[in-house]
């Protein structure tokens, strides 16, 4: 055992060293600046404004003494912890499959896994509900299962990004030295993946903790999370004071959790000799083929079934099925023209173009800010960790709090931006940026500093070395991050619902509005848009995968 560990230490794996990045200090500060300004301006300022305006002693007392609130906090915490553990455990299976095996349709499976995560919960949740056994309806089990289903993409993408670049020779060496496959997996592969696992787990935990749509849909009135409670206090009871105190409570709890995850991530940090491309293998043995086949089938069924349900719902227009809703959205529709009274209240088709436009802007913002921030985070050590956590905070804050905060902060000249068209992509970028960082940082951290040393020895300037080494290795995760940011923007609902304006509905907003009215034809149109959103998401993610492969063949 010792022999094997010694071999690992003296080989390519090494504890992280101080000052791994030779970038000049001023440049690092410059890289961190956009992220700092962004978070300070569009997150910290609004939230602090809301908190200081609405905190009252009575609201604090209510939160401290109300037993019902304590129950909500406890439930929120344990279901999030359980959801996280299960999501990671289950997610590693497809992550392994996609990182290590080559098979026909690999890119499609990758895209398919991502679809549930970015689709609005109203949409997939409904299909999920239809497939759920009655005995699980409105139970905590249903919530946890749904969280695994929705968040598995985070693990697959986050861990998979590192896994596919992990050199195989260590595991091979361990096997040669007599370790069992299970032990190799545990002591080599998982140990090396630990930083990425903790990074992904922290996001899964955040999402499960602040879960809103899933909880309302599948948990029912008996299982509110803190996020639901905040929303209910603020919008239903008009009690902004208690809502703000709860929001800060949630922030503190999640701040502690995220800091713990970040610490674990650093503790397990090792420098790896990352290969830009590690050879994937085709399944050879019978066992491998069974594993690959079974995993693919599970993904296709789990994601495919709700998608088929979406399409079926888009055809229900009254008695029986028809294409009327599809014609209403895309065609010069017969149904509407002979019935002028038929008014869905929004332009369904325009919501598709609006969403695409917003997604492009949001993607650009989050890639620039997230990319710069990732470089700064890896260069900065301890203060880098602070920046990392700071970027995650928006995910830990209820959408209601940010929405109301923005409203009362940017409400008078020269910053009366209520209703500005840029607010929605900015809101989306706030959500998407931490994902870009999550995807890029683990790869960047694992860059072997000796590569840069070698470059310097060979006469390269620090800038040149940085371009040829860091930038090349970062390009791939950055593209993945861009695709993810785009998809997140397409599907974002919570923040948008507080910023959206009449006539500028995004797809998820349009879907929600259509599903919230009686009438089969409107409902079916909502599902038409949901199908469109699912297909768009799939195409975007699959395209990003294609670009990545192409770059690889050139490299």
């Amino acid at each position: 055992m010792d022999r094997h560990r010694g071999a690992v230490n003296s080989a390519a794996v090494r504890r992280h060293r101080r000052s791994p990045n030779r970038l000049p200090r001023a440049l690092v500060v410059g890289l961190a600046a956009p992220a700092l300004v962004f978070v300070a301006m569009f997150y910290a300022w609004p939230v602090v404004t809301l908190a200081t305006r609405s905190f009252t002693a009575e609201a604090v007392r209510t939160v401290l003494h109300d037993k019902a609130i304590h129950r909500v906090v406890w439930f929120t915490a344990w279901q999030a912890a359980l959801s996280t553990v299960l999501t990671v455990a289950v997610g590693l299976i497809p992550a392994y499959l996609l990182a290590r095996y080559e098979f026909v349709g690999r890119r499609s499976v990758t895209a398919l896994v991502t679809v549930p995560f970015v689709l609005p919960t109203v949409v997939v949740g409904a299909a999920f509900l239809a497939l759920l056994p009655d005995s699980l309806d409105q139970s905590a089990t249903a919530i946890v299962v749904a969280h695994v289903f929705f968040n598995i993409a985070i693990v697959v993408r986050g861990v998979g990004g590192l896994w596919e670049q992990l050199p195989t020779d260590l595991a091979a060496a361990a096997r040669t030295l007599g370790a069992s496959p299970a032990r190799t997996m545990r002591e080599i592969t998982l140990a090396l993946l630990a930083p990425a696992i903790y990074a992904s787990a922290s996001i899964v935990f955040l999402f499960s903790f602040t879960s809103f749509g899933v909880v309302r849909l599948l948990g029912g009135p008996a299982h509110p999370t803190l996020e639901v409670e905040i929303w209910q206090r603020a919008t239903r009871l008009g009690d902004v004071g208690v809502a703000a105190v709860l929001s800060v409570t949630q922030l503190i709890l999640l701040g502690v959790a995220v800091a713990w995850f970040a610490r674990m991530q650093t503790r397990h940090q090792r420098t790896l000799g990352l290969a830009p491309l590690t050879q994937r293998q085709r399944p050879r043995t019978r066992r491998q083929r069974v594993f690959v086949g079974f995993t693919i089938a599970s993904v296709v069924v789990a994601v495919g079934a709700p998608l088929v349900a979406l399409i079926e719902h888009s055809l229900r227009t009254g008695q029986g099925h028809s294409l009327a809703a599809w014609r209403a959205v895309f065609g010069n529709d017969v149904a509407n023209s002979n019935r002028p009274s038929l008014n869905p209240g929004l332009d369904a088709f325009a919501s598709i173009t609006a969403s695409l436009r917003i997604a492009v802007v949001a993607m650009l913002i989050s890639v620039v800010i997230g990319g710069c921030a990732s470089l700064a985070i890896t260069a900065l050590g301890r203060s880098g960790r602070l920046l990392d956590v700071g970027l995650m905070l928006p995910l830990a804050t209820s959408a209601v709090t940010i929405g109301f905060g923005l409203l009362i902060t940017f409400n008078s000249a020269p910053v009366d931006w209520r209703g500005s068209a840029l607010m929605i992509p900015l809101g989306h970028a706030l959500v998407a940026t931490p994902f870009v960082v999550r995807i890029v940082v683990p790869v960047l951290r694992a860059v072997d500093p000796r590569l840069r040393d070698a470059a310097a020895t060979l006469g390269a300037t620090p800038a040149r070395a940085w371009c040829t080494i860091d930038l090349r290795i970062t390009a791939r995760p950055l593209l993945t991050g861009a695709g993810f940011a785009f998809a997140i923007s397409l599907g974002e609902f919570g923040a948008t619902s507080f910023l959206t304006r009449h006539g500028r509905e995004t797809l998820p907003i349009a879907i929600e509005r259509l599903l919230n009215r009686p009438g089969a034809l409107l409902h079916a149109q909502g599902y038409v848009l949901a199908t469109v959103l699912a297909v768009l998401t799939f195409v975007v993610i699959a395209a990003v995968e294609a670009i990545r492969v192409e770059r690889r063949t050139h490299a």
């Binding site: 019902a68 509900l129 919008t235 009871l237 038929l342 209240g345 209703g419 009686p518 089969a520």
Partner: protein
Amino acid sequence: MKQFSMVVASATLAISACSSGSTAATETKPASLTLVAYDSFNVKPEAFDAFTTATGIAVKVVTAGDAGAMLTKAALTAGNPEGDVMWGVDNTLLARALQAKVFSQYTSAQLPTLNASAVDFAPKHEVTPVDEGDVCINFDKAWFATNKLDPPSTLADLTKPAYKDLLVVENPATSSTGLAFLLATIARSGENGWQQYWKDLRTNGVKVVDSWDQAYSEAFSGSAGKGPRPLVVSYGSSPPAEVIFAEPRPDTAPTGVMASSCFHQVEFAGVLRGTKHPAAAGQLIDYLVSKGFQETLPLTLFVYPSRVDAALPREFIDYTVRPTDSLTVTPAEIESKSKAWISTWTDIVVR
């Protein structure tokens, strides 16, 4: 087209009726006004063309979440509002809106043409009633025909074994229709009786979900969702919507309304306090209650006009019943007691 010219005609009338107003002299005419409304305000931009033609002022619509979120936002920004006029605070939210001083007073010359009992909600005229409707139990006609059972006719029927496991309602803590139905049962059974009524409903298998769309579109058997339960808390105007928004269009409504279960809702519009254009905002209020605009409401928002002389579309006459004695609770009582009612309800029904 005919409808449009009617809108123009009545709008011009409405505006000329009030243009002799006093504050107009001190205020320069704005290029546009902003109307803040709830998300489901499905009125098309063209609906304001007549107003723009008559006054030269454009109307921008800003949606601000559901009615509750919209009011919270308005309360947070009271005095420095997001717009000039707000549409859609209803009688369950009215007391909170008045307490937060969201609106400034405006007495429309059109008040005598509006439903007097609705006008009485705001004796100081901070708000003007614009539409009304009911939250009622809807039933699936086909289900009751197939199962040879009469639809329930009173709220008390719902606790009988014959109707076990048939009703789905929304959580009053998270849904406005759910709250309206809870208020209906409180109005019916009284402060002392409603807890027992809900205990009985629970014993009889009432299902509670978190939102209207879940209840109506997933759990209810009479909608496109084809869920398992034939009784749902929805709107009195849902049956006409099921006829209008179906392809092919059915000959009759697939659902009916249980008239004795209805809670009456009145929606109001008001001039937002702090607007820079109070006189123009008043003109917009007059337009909102003009005959032409009011007559477009049934088929856009699926509500009844506040104006007593507004004609109703055929669908609203043929496919639904308008309850004559819907239940109600005063706005002041709703504001002061609903928090406690909801928490008691949660203890009885959910835990």
